[in-house]
Amino acid sequence: MRGVPVSALIGFFFTAAYFLGAIFAPLVAPYGLAEVVGDVWEPASRTHLLGTDSIGRDLLTRMIYGGRTTIFIATMATLLSFVTGSVLGFLAAVLGGWMDQVMSRLVDLLMSIPTLIFALVVLSVMPVTIPVLIVVMGLLDSTRVYRLARAVAVDINVMDFVEAARLRGEGRGWVIFREILPNALSPLVAEMGLRFIFAVLFVSTLSFLGLGVQPPAADWGGIVKENKDGIVYGIPAALVPAFAIATLAISVNLVADWVLNRTTSLKGGRGG
């Protein structure tokens, strides 16, 4: 780990803390998820480090379990959007011609509808379960990844080394995964850090609106929703998830920045 900049180390530390907290939630959390352990909106104390929520559950416990749901959904949705978006984007760039036109115009069509409204419509007719949430979020987000992947791949596709591979008789699979993908990884990784945070915000928004994770399961958007009335009385419970989202966003992007720097400088990158 020598030579890793301080910013990346900080990012690593907090990202790891959030992810470990999420994975080992039942071991880390001091109380049960739906356990009522005190009065409504108790202030922070030795027994309840972040106080209690609107019906007297331990807020720290809710945050840890909520992080688990939020991070899990966001991660899976991001992965889904990257796999579908980049594979389709590369394919469009390599195929070109009318296939590219059809795919790109379809994506334009999807992007012309505001994502949140589209998601709300779909989720109001579908049963709201976690797999459905992941698929809806992942597919909607993949349109953004598609655009980026296609733009990057179109640039790489005209390079002489891709032409050399084509003249050798290589198939599309080799061209996409061995010639284009390694050179497109840097911008995609940078985008992934950003997209993950958008996914966290998106799932929180949906939960806040009541179409995301359903009670009694916790997630960060849901915690804001349950505690929002407290703000009027000066109870900060609703702000805790906001703080968590902010720190997670910053730390994930610190790591993404470092990965980006490393992959571009290592081996000289594309065109130096």
Partner: protein, 545 residues
């Protein structure tokens, strides 16, 4: 000796390098360079890429490009040390007393503004002349530089004139404020030879008539010999030799200078035609999709086994398009291509794997012809695996053999392209082509991005490999010196047609057609006074007609 216009003493220039995985470190780019330039004289700075010649040239304006810092020495212009000038002083100096002509005029002009506005801009900003006077001076310069319709030339936009004209317009831009020193940074490198000679003559006349002093930066010694009074040879940021042009060309003292002067001295005995033809291109006409303009008209050439056919022409003559047609990237509209007696499918998809294996390609820009994320071993090994199914240790052994063939150590097998020099990259590309055991290799301007000495090495290697492997080359180039060095037969292309075709001795001996004559006489020769001879000869001929 009176105070010279420009005096540089013990110049030292540094930059900061950022090697991956290590802390940044300062590297010295130029060290211990001293010279003097008097009014009305021209000093040529010559060296390979990375020799620091542009950096030294720009130091006359006290300017360091992209993180480059002038850390030591003195640069005196008109009796002032410009390194000690403040921002205001430098602003008065640059563009007024000292001006600059960049390599690529096309990139240096703002495409959205008329040429005249850009040519007189610096003159007006510096208050060297009123708008009317600057305008008049620009028109006079246009006519001195033999630009067409000097009165209205400035009303055009940069995209409406040719590359050679734009380069001359840039010279007018630099001369318009009546500077005392002009820095020419490779002003003709990006031009075709037939255009280069006109620009060169125009620049030389303009320098003589205006009495301006000039620094002329180039990597081409034959070019610099035509315009300079003195020449400084640079290598790796150090001055190798500094003397009059005559002394450097006729009596070089240092080994490195001697190597530069005698570059392109490869001679190769022309092989007699005969043997089996590998490639026969018959009556090919081609156009790009969606255009109505034929890029190739009725082109027919043939190439015998183990021989070299050079396809020569200026940019836009269709020579690279011919390569695309042969490889199947651009199916021809008419005509056919036969390879070793069998007819090739016009498009790539219809060719068998063996068809593809037997025609390999080497590109001009080696750095974009290799995937930057693959090691040398992967790059060379892939054709071995793809065509012959070699894997593991067997593949590695073959790669090692190929690396030895291209005179690159076997230690390079795990390196990435970015860790290689330009010449080494081109060698790896040659090895990749050889790995397929082809019968023919298409070489598309393979040496034109390389320094002359490195290019010579590549040509020698190609010739040696031809003897061993009996591979035929289709050699596309605009450089006649290269053609003389390696070709067995030559096809001269002009505007999509083959205007002259035959063995090397046939094509290069008189009587010439007009275009071949123009092309041949435009190649700079390594002797003083060549430019004047050619220009005088051409004037006489046109007077005779």
């Amino acid at each position: 000796m009176a105070d010279p216009l420009l005096k540089v003493r013990d110049l030292k220039i540094e930059a900061t390098a950022y090697p991956p995985g290590e802390p940044p470190q300062d590297i010295t780019i130029v060290e211990g360079v001293s010279f003097a330039l008097e009014k009305g004289r021209v000093l040529g700075l010559i060296g390979e890429s990375g020799a620091g010649k542009s950096t030294i040239g720009l130091s006359a304006m006290a300017y360091g490009r992209g993180g480059v810092r002038i850390t030591g020495g003195e640069v005196w212009v008109n009796g002032r040390d410009v390194l000690k000038l403040g921002t205001a002083g430098l602003r008065r100096l640059r563009g007024a007393e000292v001006s600059y002509v960049a390599q690529s005029a096309a990139a240096a002009f703002n495409p959205a503004r008329k040429i005249m506005d850009q040519v007189i801009e610096a003159t007006i900003i510096h208050g060297r002349a009123s708008r009317q006077a600057a305008h008049a001076r620009a028109v006079a310069l246009f006519s001195k530089l033999s630009l067409p319709e000097p009165e209205t030339f400035g009303d055009r936009y940069p995209h409406q004139v040719s590359g050679g004209q734009l380069q001359r317009a840039m010279t007018a831009l630099a001369l318009c404020p009546e500077p005392e020193l002009v820095i020419f940074d490779e002003p003709t490198t990006a031009l075709d030879v037939t255009t280069q000679i006109d620009v060169l003559a125009a620049i030389k006349d303009a320098i003589r008539d205006t009495g301006v002093a000039a620094l002329y930066i180039t990597h081409d010694l034959a070019v610099v010999a035509q315009v300079s009074d003195d020449i400084m040879v640079l290598q790796g940021g150090h001055q190798v030799e500094y003397g009059t042009a005559e002394q450097i060309i006729n009596a070089p003292r240092e080994d490195y200078t001697r190597a530069l002067v005698s570059v392109r001295s490869i001679r190769h005995e022309e092989k007699q035609p005969g043997g089996d033809p590998v490639l026969e291109v018959s009556n090919v006409t081609a156009r790009y999709k969606g255009t109505k303009f034929d890029v190739l008209h009725d082109v027919s050439v043939a190439l015998d086994a183990g021989q070299t056919l050079a396809v020569v022409g200026e940019s836009g003559s269709g020579k690279s398009t011919l390569a695309r047609v042969i490889t199947g990237l651009l199916p021809p509209a008419h005509g056919q291509i036969a390879f070793a007696g069998r007819r090739l499918s016009p498009d790539l998809a219809g060719r068998t794997r063996d068809d593809l294996r037997e025609v390999q390609m080497i590109y001009q820009m080696a750095d974009v012809a290799m995937n930057p994320r693959q090691t040398v071993g992967t790059i060379i090994g892939r054709p071995l695996q793809f065509y012959f199914g070699h894997r593991g240790a067997e593949k590695r052994r073959r790669v090692t053999e190929l690396l030895e063939k291209i005179e690159l150590g076997t230690g390079y097998i795990d390196r990435y392209p970015a860790e290689l020099s330009g010449g080494q990259k081109q060698r790896v590309c040659i090895a990749r082509a050889l790995a397929a055991e082809p019968r023919m290799i298409i070489c598309d301007e393979v040496t034109s991005a390389l320094d002359p000495l490195v290019a010579d090495g590549i040509l020698k290697l190609l010739l040696d490999l031809q003897k061993i492997e009996n591979v035929a080359y289709l050699f596309i180039t605009h450089d006649l010196a290269t053609v003389r060095a390696i070709a067995d037969s030559i096809a001269v292309m002009y505007q999509g047609r083959v205007v002259r075709y035959g063995t090397k001795s046939q094509v290069l001996s008189p009587p010439f057609d007009d275009y071949t004559d123009l092309l041949l006489s435009s190649v700079p020769e390594m002797k003083l006074g060549w430019l004047e001879e050619v220009i005088a000869h051409r004037k006489m001929e046109s007077a005779g007609h």
